[in-house]
């Protein structure tokens, strides 16, 4: 009764075990394939993520060896000591234990873990050390997008003259550490750019320090990882790391307030008016509705429930919108991997790539990809689940096509 004698059974056992081996082999193999897995934690691109990777790699190896050891021992014992049907009925020796062995295998893992612990302590301290010459950025999570306030002036405040604010896309200089002060406006979120460092929770009422640094120019994607309600899955962010000189140019542009649309662009002028009437109670455009927004702050109209919305001053300088889930522009021509990429032209759109491939857009000089932004203005909750009626996310304003056209024209001027 205790043995499986039929060939079918043997096939079942062998097939199951083979599947197990193949599965785990394939898993380990693919885990180290870094193409087309932009969020992978195993392909570090900055010093901090590299420290983590260097620390955990030997732990994985030790762990793997331990598992193979245990599995091997179990399999060996099963094959060696299993009851064979034609055996005699003699029972095995009743061994109750072996104190020396017990002590040995209590101490042995203790020693291995002590080594791991020693390495870990160093890395924890290194990762929490302050960096010299870092760029300071305040990061805040909100349902369901990210905002950034840069301390450009270096006076440790994030709202003095010359400091800049932006949303969803964080632009940083290559090779320079960036100190993040992370907080939240409503619930707990988590800021995570796997290629640059581990994640850090954004807790309301609390500022916490974190840091990232990119070694090479590129776009590094991230995802909110602390469950934050309805659209948690749609709360993404990306970091564009650009060379220092390009970064300075970018900062200079961002420091400018938004210009009024040129008078000859009638659609945009009308759009600005629509914006002031419809959008300005939540969205800030620097130079346009600062006082209105400041007043709201004053009146404490910005409780911890979102009601604030992303800063749109240089809206078109970003490649994505709505929490980094939709492309704002056509993507870059293939082959250029600069964080902003080369410009594609209206005449040559088919070489610009597919704008529905999420997160690939970048260059603000590329033409606006209208369908997404129009759909968004038409009915935001249909594009991204939100609970605007409960004060979280953008409501459906029931705009007409004319209003949408005007608003898009205006938003297109916010460079």
């Amino acid at each position: 009764m205790s043995r499986f004698r039929s060939p079918v059974a043997k096939v079942l056992i062998v097939a199951s075990l083979a599947l197990f081996v193949v599965l785990w082999g394939a898993m380990i193999w693919t885990a180290f394939e870094h193409d087309a897995v932009p969020l992978t934690t195993l392909d570090p691109q900055g010093p901090f993520s590299t420290m983590i990777d260097d620390l955990v790699a030997p732990v994985f190896i030790i762990g793997g060896m331990v598992f193979v050891g245990v599995l091997g021992a179990v399999m060996y014992f099963v094959l060696r000591y299993r009851e064979k049907g034609d055996d005699d009925l003699e029972l095995p020796k009743q061994t109750h234990g072996h104190t020396a062995a017990e002590v040995a295998w209590t101490i042995a893992p203790g020693i291995v873990l002590a080594v791991v612990a020693f390495l870990t302590v160093g890395v924890i301290l290194d990762l929490s050390a302050e960096e010299e010459g870092a760029l300071r950025v305040e990061v805040y999570g909100a349902q369901w997008w990210w905002g950034y306030n840069y301390d450009i002036t270096g006076d440790r405040s994030f709202d003095s003259d010359g400091d800049i604010s932006t949303a969803n896309e964080l632009v940083i200089p290559v090779g320079r550490p960036v100190e993040l002060r992370i907080t939240s406006m409503d619930v707990i979120h988590s800021f995570w750019i796997p290629a640059l460092n581990g994640k850090a929770d954004a807790v309301p009422g609390m500022h916490r320090d974190w840091k990232i640094q990119a070694d090479a120019p590129g776009v590094y994607r991230g995802q909110c990882t602390e469950f934050c309600g309805l659209s948690h899955a749609n709360m993404r962010m990306l970091v564009r790391a650009i060379p220092a000189d390009e970064f300075d140019e970018w900062v200079a542009r961002q420091q400018q307030p938004a210009a009024d649309p040129p008078a000859d662009n009638e659609l945009a002028v009308a759009g600005q008016e629509q914006f002031v009437n419809l959008c300005a109670s939540c969205h800030l455009v620097d130079g346009l509705n600062n006082e209105q927004i400041a007043q709201l702050h004053e009146d404490d109209e910005f409780p911890l429930v979102a009601g604030v919305a992303p800063d749109l001053t240089h809206f078109r300088s970003r490649g994505t919108f709505a929490g980094g889930i939709y492309n704002l522009t056509y993507p870059n021509p293939a082959g250029d991997d600069s964080p902003f990429g080369a410009t594609c032209t209206l005449e040559d759109l088919e070489n610009c790539g597919d704008p529905t491939d999420i997160g690939l857009a970048g260059n603000p000089d590329n033409p606006l990809y209208r369908p997404f932004i129009e759909d968004w203005l038409r009915n935001p909750p249909a594009m991204k689940p939100m609970a605007a009626e409960e004060g979280r996310g953008m409501p459906n304003l029931n705009l007409t096509q004319e209003q949408i056209d005007q608003l898009v024209a205006y938003l297109d001027t916010l460079r």
Binding site: P38, V66, G97, P109, G198, E226
Partner: protein, 674 residues
């Protein structure tokens, strides 16, 4: 011992002889047969079976929720569920599996087996035991009625503040979660007191602590963990309840509420919770493995003390759930180190199990296969756990599918494989028929394959950056392939569960034409196998006197000087005869536990809808308690020919009404919540 008839007491004061009449509208139930008896039973075996049945029912619900999750994630931009529905489904899946499946299956085994393993007739407080079960069942049902009353909780099973506040989750889902778990918490707490007292006080003569079967030991450790962990969760839930129901400011950030307080309280409960889910399975394996290896557990004291060590150390590691929460580098460091070293006692257990198999004569029956499955699969979960304890690595791994993979390898590959081993092993003892072996083996291999297909790929998904709790993902992140493998695996796993259920009914039908498997179908080692299968209502007759560990085995076998076993008695000679004396005095059934427990969900509904209902519920609870208090544990009307045993502790009830004080306290928790 019987309650003295109050009428016989020579009372020094008072009004002389007192006529005792049970209070209330019911005549006292007396039958222990028929379907009605299940509602009034105080028999630990019936209660254990009900725990198991209810847990399997909730397991099917939780499993269906899991399948919904897997189908939704089959491909990018899945449309089976909306974001809102998905959030409810994963919250309820986690809550159901933890509180309504794994914990109660542990309770089922503890209730059924532990008194048998220590040679008791029942638990210390049989009526409280019934009350615990009904609290659990009503709490679970209350929790799930949320589906029909506006939707389930949507904050994740960990229910982090302030996302769980009314502002961010205005529906009643989280209230159902909160109150439902408060009710099941009463079940756990009263159960814990009951089972600890049972183990400490009601062991058969000669059964010292170090002669107890490992499962009994692990039950003791588990119940201590519950005893001390549940009140912490209760405190946190009370804060949440007051925030949601009465506008308190505990997690209101504007008023200075600190969201991390919830996290601390929750995980102080939550981490011992992890161990109290896994330890019963460890206990089962430690008892089953020797039977099929034909030799005693290797290093019994080390197995026991490592279990105790896990229980203790489990209190010092909670903040490893908070490495990314912003608790400061020093705290991260300390908790990282404590977490690493909890791997030591766990490793000791695994090595001892492996050593138990060495040089044995292994019978690879279904329970044994599941035990081997546990040893190997749990090892994977344990090792991935060590990678989390490396705090910097955890900042990459936490809240990704790597964590999901980890704890499913622990809770499914560990706890549930152990429970499956326990089901197959103890089925004949409980129901009097053996499960079909061939189906059992297919069941195991199907579950093994399905389990690995489902949860293995999640390691890769997590390391490649797929977050937990996302209802959708986009193309271009490379998540498609392994999600599809996992979804296929989930259906294979569902198939294996279906096969298990089929096996139950198939084997039962077959068993009608087969002989009873007898008390000892596996040539087992511990004393629960001495008594007939299924177990008679009175368990042992007489209570055995224990002389050594694995007492039953040594009644059958002697040992030569070089530890070779020699048969000294036929199994039939040492087992209890099925036709023994039936006149053992047992605690009488009672209506009051179910009545009292029934009041609790009514209080809960009242809190959510109309406070008048709470009042009614509260009155039911109070009436239940007073009825209970005035009812003697034994029915004085019942005819009993008292069986006088010639030994110490017998699992009968205390004549004290003071056990009802315990109840009053649990009631107090509810009332204060109300």
């Amino acid at each position: 011992m019987a309650t003295p008839d109050p009428g016989q007491l020579a009372l020094p004061s008072g009004n002389g002889a007192v006529e005792h009449r049970p209070l209330g509208v019911f005549t006292r139930p007396s039958s222990s047969k028929g379907w009605r008896s299940w509602f009034t039973s105080v028999d630990h075996k019936k209660i254990g079976v009900m725990y198991g049945a209810a847990a399997l029912f909730f397991f099917i619900i939780g499993g269906l929720e899991a399948l919904l999750i897997r189908v939704q994630l089959w491909a990018p931009r899945g449309t089976l569920l909306t974001a809102d529905e998905y959030n409810q489904v994963f919250t309820m899946h986690g809550t159901t599996m933890i509180f309504l499946v794994v914990m109660p299956i542990g309770a089922a085994f503890a209730n059924y087996l532990m008194p048998l393993q220590i040679g008791a007739r029942d638990v210390a407080f049989p009526r409280i035991n019934a009350f615990s079960f009904w609290c659990f069942l009503f709490g679970g049902i209350f929790l799930n009625t949320a589906w029909f009353l506006g939707g389930g909780a949507d904050g994740g099973w960990f229910m982090y503040a302030p996302n769980s506040s009314v502002v961010f989750s205005p529906g009643h889902g989280i209230d159902f979660w909160n109150i439902g778990l408060l009710i099941t918490g009463i079940a756990s707490l009263t159960g814990a007191v009951n089972l600890i007292v049972t183990v400490l006080n009601m062991r058969a003569p000669g059964m010292t602590l170090m002669k107890m079967p490992v499962f009994t030991w692990m039950t003791l450790v588990t119940q201590f963990l519950l005893l001390f962990a549940i009140p912490v969760l209760t405190a946190a839930q009370v804060l949440l309840l007051f925030d949601r129901a009465f506008d308190a400011n505990f997690f209101n950030v504007e008023a200075g509420g600190d969201p991390l307080l919830w996290q601390h309280l929750f995980w102080i409960f939550g981490h011992p919770e992890v161990y109290l889910m896994i330890l019963p399975a460890f206990g089962l394996v430690s008892d089953i493995l020797p039977v099929f290896s034909r030799k005693p557990i290797f290093g019994y004291p080390f197995i026991v003390f490592s279990g105790i060590a896990i229980g203790f150390m489990g209190w010092g590691v909670w903040a490893h759930h908070m490495f990314v929460s912003g608790i400061g580098p020093v705290s991260v460091l300390v908790f990282s180190l404590t977490t690493m070293f909890i791997a030591v006692p766990t490793g000791v257990k695994i090595l001892n199990w492996t050593a138990t198999m060495a040089r044995g004569k292994l019978k690879l029956d279904t329970p044994m296969l599941f035990c081997i499955g546990l040893i190997t699969m749990f090892t994977i979960g344990g090792i991935s756990g060590v990678t989390h304890s490396v705090a910097p690595a955890d900042t990459q791994q936490t809240d990704t599918y790597y964590i999901v993979a980890h704890f499913h390898y622990v809770l499914f590959g560990g706890a549930f494989f152990g429970f499956m081993a326990g089901f197959y092993f103890y089925w004949p003892k409980v129901f009097g028929y053996l499960m079909n072996e061939t189906l059992g083996k297919v069941n195991f291999w199907l579950m093994f394959v399905g389990f690995n297909l489902t949860f293995g790929p999640m390691h890769v998904l997590g390391l490649q950056g797929m977050s937990r709790r996302i209802y959708t993902y986009d193309a271009g992140y490379g998540f498609e392939f392994w999600n599809q493998v996992a979804t296929i695996g989930a259906f294979v796993l569902a198939g294996s569960i279906a096969l298990f259920i089929f096996n139950i009914f198939y084997s039962r039908a077959k068993a009608k034409s087969m002989a009873n498997p007898g008390p000892d179908p596996w040539d087992a080692r511990t004393i629960e196998w001495m008594i007939p299968s299924p177990v008679p209502e009175y368990n042992f007759d007489p209570i055995p006197t224990i002389t050594r560990r694995d007492d039953f085995w040594y009644r059958k076998y002697g040992e030569t000087e070089d530890h070779m076993p020699v048969r000294i008695a036929a199994t039939d000679e040492v087992c209890q005869s099925a036709e023994g004396e039936h006149d053992v005095h047992l605690p009488s059934p009672s209506y009051w536990p179910i009545v009292t427990a029934f009041g609790l969900p009514i209080v809960g509904y009242g809190l959510l809808y109309t406070h008048w209902l709470s009042l009614i519920g509260g009155l039911i609870v109070v009436a239940g308690i007073y009825g209970w208090a005035l009812e003697p544990p034994d029915d004085p009307e019942a005819e009993h020919d008292h069986h006088d045993d010639d030994h110490g502790p017998v699992g009968e009830v205390e004549p004290d009404r003071a056990e009802d004080e315990d109840l009053s306290e649990s009631e107090k928790e509810v009332e204060t919540v109300g």
